[in-house]
């Protein structure tokens, strides 16, 4: 009896572990990739019916979003809104989008290339015409049609603790990467704070380093460099400047002692209480840091925000880019109601302002958190969209090379090399990145 049970268990467990482990991870999450049969009427018409809105804000869905629902339903009595929230938005929504059932309003995931927008989303109108009202539509547009409205607009820079910087005797913002390194050294020498915190373990904060391309002040940069060169890590190129700065910070011992055990939630408190001096993050982080500072008994005024340390002709430039964009499921049966929500969210909800972001409206208000930028004359730069036919080119090179510009894997390697945990130095690591990049460009064609 004993042996028979064991025998059966053995057979089963083998089948389960080998088959299921691999299958569940990959294959199980794919129905037939859905086709593009549009359902329902267009976005014109009387808003009515029940709509499902999918959001990535698991932290707000039961509080702030419930208020939105109440206000919206008061204005549109025929519409009922329900929410669905996802913790791992990018991963979960991609699986859902293989079916036709992915809510009525959702955020366009980063993995959708522009040429596929029409397969999944309802066109909202011409970029020109709609662009008189909403900003940055060209980020999710194809052939002149806009597919999404930004939920908020972020700029990029460095969030820092003003007290720590003042204690180190620093008053001015650094204007070059070398000046920033000097400042961080001063913090290390004169205070007890960790000058810079990489947030290596959570990974995604490292991806923020890619968001500062606009610091060069050239809106056309990404259409002439990066994917259009074999050597984005050669001296003078943006990724040499930005990744090189990260490398020098870590190599100079100016970051946390053991990056592998960092913790994002904890890092907010560390910055808020002055145990950490500086972190490179998008402007969306300012309000979260202020909150953390207040929760820890400090003041929101301790949190400052400076542009990336790079000037062109004596002027700072900061990149602005839309956050996720609200879009309408092409299979939705209540497109008019969905469109009403998308418009209301951008114009009435106040989401962007409350989050400390710039408004998705062309003439919307600038948040108080970015007052310092305005005073210092920082120029905001929105990058040009990729030329027609090349929209997916950079993303394809990134996928092919497995150098995840928008992710954290290669930047974690960079930190490892910089702190001596991995063989190589700055030159050899950048050379290997260039090599992988050139090879991928050749393969993509």
């Amino acid at each position: 009896m004993e042996t028979r049970v064991i025998e059966m268990a053995k057979k089963h467990i083998l089948a389960a572990t080998t088959g299921a482990a691999a299958a569940l991870a990959l294959a199980a999450c794919t129905g037939g990739a859905g086709g593009a049969a549009a359902g329902g009427d267009g976005i014109e018409g009387e808003p009515s019916g029940e709509i499902t809105v999918i959001t990535q804000r698991t932290d707000l869905v039961d509080t702030v979003f419930q208020d939105y629902k109440e206000q919206f339903e008061k204005e549109y009595p025929d519409v009922t809104v329900s929410f669905e929230s996802m913790t791992d938005y990018e991963g979960e929504i991609a699986v859902r989008m293989n079916t036709q059932d992915y809510g009525d309003v959702l955020l366009i995931p980063n993995s959708v290339t522009p040429d596929k927008l029409g397969t999944f989303f309802e066109p909202l109108g011409g970029v020109e015409e709609l662009g008189e009202k909403y900003a940055l539509l060209e980020e999710e547009a194809y052939e002149g049609q806009a597919y999404g409205i930004p939920i908020t607009v972020n700029t990029q820079g460095i969030v820092y603790n003003k007290k720590v910087w003042a204690d180190a005797g620093l008053t001015d913002w650094p204007t070059t990467p070398d000046e920033l390194l000097d400042d961080l050294r001063a913090i290390k020498d004169k205070t007890d704070a960790v000058p810079y915190y990489t947030n290596y373990a959570d990974g995604w904060p490292l991806s923020q380093w890619d968001g500062n391309r606009g610091a060069l002040g050239d809106p056309a940069y990404a259409n002439e460099h990066i994917a259009y060169t074999d050597t984005p890590w050669a001296p003078g190129e943006w990724h040499h400047i930005s990744d090189g700065l990260l490398f020098d910070i870590v190599a100079g011992g100016l970051s946390e002692e053991d990056p592998t055990t960092t913790n994002w939630e904890e890092s907010k408190t560390l910055l808020g209480t002055g145990k950490v001096g500086t972190m490179l993050l998008g402007s969306w982080a300012i309000t979260q840091m202020q909150q953390a500072a207040e929760d820890a008994g400090g003041s929101a005024d301790d949190i400052g925000y400076m542009p990336f340390p790079y000037q062109v002709d004596g002027t700072f430039h900061a990149q602005v880019a839309g956050d996720y964009k609200n879009a309408i499921n092409v299979h939705s049966e209540h497109k008019a109601a969905a469109w009403a929500w998308v418009e209301w969210f951008a114009e009435e909800s106040g989401y962007a302002y409350d989050e400390g972001g710039l408004s998705p409206l062309v003439d919307g208000p600038t948040p108080e958190t970015l007052a310092g930028f305005t005073d210092a004359g920082v120029e905001l730069v929105a990058l040009d969209p990729a030329p027609s036919g090349k929209e997916a080119y950079e993303a394809n090179v990134v996928s092919e090379s497995e150098v995840d510009l928008y992710g954290n894997i290669y930047r974690q390697e960079l930190v490892d090399v910089a702190r001596g945990a991995k063989d190589g130095d700055k030159e050899s690591f950048f050379a290997s990145l260039n090599e992988r990049w050139a090879k991928a460009r050749a393969a993509v064609g």
Binding site: A23, S399, I409
Partner: protein, 309 residues
């Protein structure tokens, strides 16, 4: 599990039927019993695996409605780049960990199968980690291993002032993670071994004692042969498990700092780099490797009837 167990009695019903040929119903019955489990098995195991094999010959990005067949290009890429195979070196740490785990589990199972004081408490303590959710374990051990964390505090008590960076040092990180894995899974092996040991008839020990056997003799000549099958099974699971380690390193480090395993690399290929085709090929490859290892193991350790009497 349900699938096979319900199927067996049905088959047994038919087996002795020599004269039941006139009853047509008897022939259909076992197939009816099989229908549900087979349908489940096909739907949830074989169809997805077949899908995965198909994706592995395409350039699918996980979202595109169109999948272009690319032949063996994905496989060629894996075999053409040593970086994809280097991660199997990481598996060696977990394999060594698995060996330690089996020996410890066998030791504790043997000791606790005799009349030890507080044996039920110890049984509970050893099995307990297996019941904890893997994510919770990952988080607990992150705090345990961080600089100035629990482990460092304990070491400071015994006078170690400058301990290693348990996760920060690339030469230590995989040992730390493998140790976490041992801590978590030893309880499972322990329970399997204990169950098998307790099914050995007690008369055998009494007879052996009369013949003057020591504890070691009893272990070597009664217990070990008695539970050979379950030890063999645990060994296969240990090997395939160490090739497909995922949960603990993924939660604790995300595969950073040289702790990436083959499965982590596969997940990154699929969900970070959007190369589902390539990731599927890696999945197929892992499946084949595990099947081959199992086959080799079965060749060298054939199924024998255990006979203690």
């Amino acid at each position: 599990m349900v699938a096979t167990t319900t199927a067996r009695p049905a088959a047994a019903l038919v087996a002795p039927s020599g004269g039941a040929r006139s009853h047509q119903g008897w022939r259909v019955t076992p197939w009816l019993f099989l229908l549900v489990p087979v349908a489940l098995l096909v739907t949830f195991t074989y169809v997805p695996v077949a899908n995965m094999v198909w994706y592995s010959f395409t350039d699918w990005d996980g979202l595109d409605p169109v999948m272009n067949p690319v032949g063996l290009a994905n496989y060629a890429r894996i075999f053409g780049d040593p970086a994809y195979f280097q991660v199997f070196l990481v598996s060696l740490y977990y394999l060594a960990g698995a060996a330690v785990q089996l020996v410890l589990a066998l030791y504790f199972a043997t000791v606790l199968s005799f009349n030890t004081r507080f044996r039920n408490v110890f049984k509970g303590l050893i099995f307990f980690p297996y019941l904890i959710n893997g994510v919770a374990i990952g988080l607990v051990f992150l705090y345990f291993f961080r600089p100035g964390g629990t482990l460092d505090a304990l070491l400071a008590l015994v006078g170690v002032d400058a301990p290693a960076q348990w996760l920060g040092d690339p030469s230590v990180i995989n040992v730390s993670l493998a140790a976490t894995s041992v801590w978590r899974f030893m309880g499972l092996n322990f329970v399997l071994f204990l169950g098998a040991i307790q099914s050995i008839p007690t008369e055998l020990y009494e007879a052996a004692e009369l013949d003057g056997a020591t504890s070691w003799h009893k272990f070597r000549y009664i217990i070990l042969p008695g539970i050979k099958k379950i030890v063999g099974l645990s060994a296969i699971l240990a090997v395939s498990g160490s090739l497909s380690v995922f949960e603990i390193p993924y939660i604790m480090t995300g595969g950073a700092n040289g702790s990436a395993t083959f499965v982590i690399q596969t997940v990154q290929a699929a969900f970070t780099h959007h190369n589902f085709g390539l990731a599927s090929a890696m999945g197929v490859l892992l499946l084949v490797i595990v099947l081959v290892i199992t086959w080799i193991q079965r060749r060298f350790v054939p199924d024998e009837k255990v006979d203690l009497t």
